[in-house]
Homo-oligomer: 404 residues x 3
Amino acid sequence: MALTASRLVMTKFLRLGNHKGVAIVSRHCFHRTAIMGVTDAEFTAAKDRVGTLTQDPGNEVKLKMYALFKQVTVGKCNAPKPGAFDFVGKAKWSAWNDLGDMTKDDARQKYVDVVDDLVANDPGAQASAPAAATASQSDTAGSSVGGYENLKVSVDRGVCTIMMNRPKKKNALNRETYEEIIKALDSSGKDDSVVFSVLTGAGDFYSGGNDLNNFMSITPDTMKQAAREGGELLQRFVAAFIDFPKPLVAAVNGPAVGIPVTSLALCDVVYATDRATFHTPFSSLGQSPEACSSYLFPQIMGQAKANEVLLFGRKLTAQEAYDRGLVTEVFPDATFQQEIEKKFNEFAKLPRQSLRLSKNLIRGAEREKLHQVNKEECELLEERWTSEECIQAIMDFFASKSKL
Amino acid sequence: MALTASRLVMTKFLRLGNHKGVAIVSRHCFHRTAIMGVTDAEFTAAKDRVGTLTQDPGNEVKLKMYALFKQVTVGKCNAPKPGAFDFVGKAKWSAWNDLGDMTKDDARQKYVDVVDDLVANDPGAQASAPAAATASQSDTAGSSVGGYENLKVSVDRGVCTIMMNRPKKKNALNRETYEEIIKALDSSGKDDSVVFSVLTGAGDFYSGGNDLNNFMSITPDTMKQAAREGGELLQRFVAAFIDFPKPLVAAVNGPAVGIPVTSLALCDVVYATDRATFHTPFSSLGQSPEACSSYLFPQIMGQAKANEVLLFGRKLTAQEAYDRGLVTEVFPDATFQQEIEKKFNEFAKLPRQSLRLSKNLIRGAEREKLHQVNKEECELLEERWTSEECIQAIMDFFASKSKL
Amino acid sequence: MALTASRLVMTKFLRLGNHKGVAIVSRHCFHRTAIMGVTDAEFTAAKDRVGTLTQDPGNEVKLKMYALFKQVTVGKCNAPKPGAFDFVGKAKWSAWNDLGDMTKDDARQKYVDVVDDLVANDPGAQASAPAAATASQSDTAGSSVGGYENLKVSVDRGVCTIMMNRPKKKNALNRETYEEIIKALDSSGKDDSVVFSVLTGAGDFYSGGNDLNNFMSITPDTMKQAAREGGELLQRFVAAFIDFPKPLVAAVNGPAVGIPVTSLALCDVVYATDRATFHTPFSSLGQSPEACSSYLFPQIMGQAKANEVLLFGRKLTAQEAYDRGLVTEVFPDATFQQEIEKKFNEFAKLPRQSLRLSKNLIRGAEREKLHQVNKEECELLEERWTSEECIQAIMDFFASKSKL
């Protein structure tokens, strides 16, 4: 499950390795931390198989596994609660402590179940997943643009498709994906063969928002620095939308969470499948709106409906997002791709200078204001990311996630 | 029936006592003005019972009673029509004159009927009215905050409820209620235990708008002064909404008229029962929009729908107010209180600094503009309140109301 | 079929007469260009009847007739393709060339059919058309205001009705109609007997937008000058809406195309028949939005829905225009006139100073901004009208129209 911008900061708390007195929980942590002999053959085998995983299972899962491992090898949590600012330590301690009186046998069983699950879902074992199929279908049309690891970018008859392409991660945005989207927008904006660009996602999700694993190298000591860098990246990302010089269409092919929702207000036209949902849980994570949504959502929906979304985290269905004006049109999932392709083919034939100049006229009146709002939103988020409240909210989120 | 801000001024015209050649129509006017002997015992008894009323019956009723009393005691109106600027005199003369050739017997009968009605509805006789029940129900939860005569203010688990509490007056806003709402907003904004505030009404009405009895001490001579004071009060009232530093939720529990409607655009989230209606009859009363609605309603609804409401006084149903974006969500009346309480409980658990800072971010971008609009609206209203057109419109309204 | 502002410029390309080496295609062109003897009596008779037409058949039809005439008299197109900037020549050459190998007999037959059609539809022969009936109905109420050729302006009990009155041209706006609407707005704004004004169309159409025959005297040499004049006229036209000091109501009695759609956002209230449609094909004609729609449509509809209309030319039904907030209310066509008259009667009784001052308050906050946007939009359109892309888009449009 992916989140909003918060993850930029969260991830650092779970950073593993050089944290005094705390066992390492990195990709290879499980066999390294297995310093005690274990008697159960299955448990040992499971522990070994962890080292064969080719994908990071994510911090929630790793916290669960850490806790179970301790329960098996040590028993009920007997460590003192870490200090207030030892965020990683607290998260791990809580996960372990929450297991309470769980027996070693139970813990061993659950640990093995979790590993079995991870191995069964390892990408190496399932190269023909539906998401991958979708991505390869679109290979047949247009010319693929190289130089992207996390996107699939192609240009076909005037339409540049920028597809977030990490379907197994619900197209969550890690730092590299942010940078690549900035680059893809910049390039397609300058490419004379491109009439307009389309932002979409591979697989079942549009995008789950910020990726948990963004800032694995951040420690509590560098928290302020990391918040600054996160804010700077976010501001550049949003600016790339504000300054995009051609029509920008979002094809929301599935659920969207966090900045993939708020940035829709910076797209010009938004088509959505009826499977799409739109969720912006800023407040519950101790954070605040971004991508100019603090300014544009009230303009689009009226303050009464915008604030329910921005302040109280109301999750919208596709129909609700349409009724509120965030979405231009909703199509049944079965015909979504056909319907939008038909539209794109028509749009691509329109005089491109007119499109560019009209877009510039429409957005130009607000551009300075949008950059100003973007700056203020990012400044507030930088403050939020280092606030006690935000850290606690994220801790609580993870504590609840790490319960089995 | 309560109205818009106009009443601030209107009431002065009906002010009673030191107006040359005009009979007094105050709470105790009826037996004092009964200078002629009357033969009908029922009429005398009725007249006497008027003195036992514990609530002011409102100026419309008093005008009716004045006219009937004159018809019984004098007969058909024989007084000369008062001069152009004798507003009180004209209102009363019109009420009497409109009775035409009504016989004394008929007038006597109607007079007694009116008094019977008033007595039957006197609050002393019905302490267990639904409105009072509602108010006492909410006594059971949260701690009541003292120091309010016209509001019921309580704080419960982070939610401050500001309830307009004059149910027998349809929660109309007299001068004191304006001042108390300003005070309640200011206090709950500063109270660290309050996460957000809720504005609602006791009984069946949300609020009928400005109360007729606001400025009983105003005479035509002090009209300009009264308009200035009314404008100043209104501006401070609206500013208290603009500057409220936390989420402000409106729980519209029934019909709303005038400024209770327009001020919804300054609330952050608006929930309404399906019984609610939204009416802004500015133009028909010779007045103009307030509470930044001249600026915010077009933003929320689009100009085509906003202007029908602001210029032509279209009364909206709850569903229409929802469709136009003034209302966040509508609930069936039977479950309204439950539904919003459930939401409030969830909202109150959210990180409060995030809510406060996000609210500030969202509203902050417009705050200076809103104060400017508020100032301009109040200046225009001060001009309107002393205009011939406005005075005439209100006179016409009262003349039509005082007809039996 | 009438278009958007483009026609201002388009018409000059088809201007006929002093263009070297190109046959003349003006109202009387057909018998003048018939310099070769033709044997078929019907063809000759048809050719002669063209001279009796009292209405310009429009450039599309004239291009068709030109091509057919050449095919009859010369045969398959044997002229060299005109140079890139000879727009008139290219349009005519294309029309002729597109006939390919059509036989002379076929061409002769089609030519006669076209003329028969024109004669049958000549206004002189059908004075009792439904559109004229509508116009004469409204003669019965109110006093007609003289001095207008293309409008029917009347004032009745406080309501000034400004009716675009060229029903056989779908109320397309020629230069004179623009000037007359400016004049009618100015006059009714100053007329103390007028409470508010209503803009509507005679017959089945609201208005088809810019008229093709606006600038018949423009040659390619004076293109830049014509674009400047067109931009200046457009800017004054839009300014007359922005500055109109009273409520302005649009009664959209049928389909609307181009500036009659965009200027609705500058009206205060918009009522529409359910037969109305709203079409803004700027981009397909190489042009850009006008009448402040680049600023107001996103405010009204949200950017996602506005941009589909402004950039991609989505044609809206009456219900869609209502849902997007462009229209205040939709009525069944059968009762449309009754319903709006009932409303207008009520509105006209409202205090007129209040209406005027409230309107000024509501629109005043944005007036400077709107004038600025109007200026920028007109500057862009002037550039567009002389651009290769716009000219080509219009050529393509006409080429497709001139095919039989």
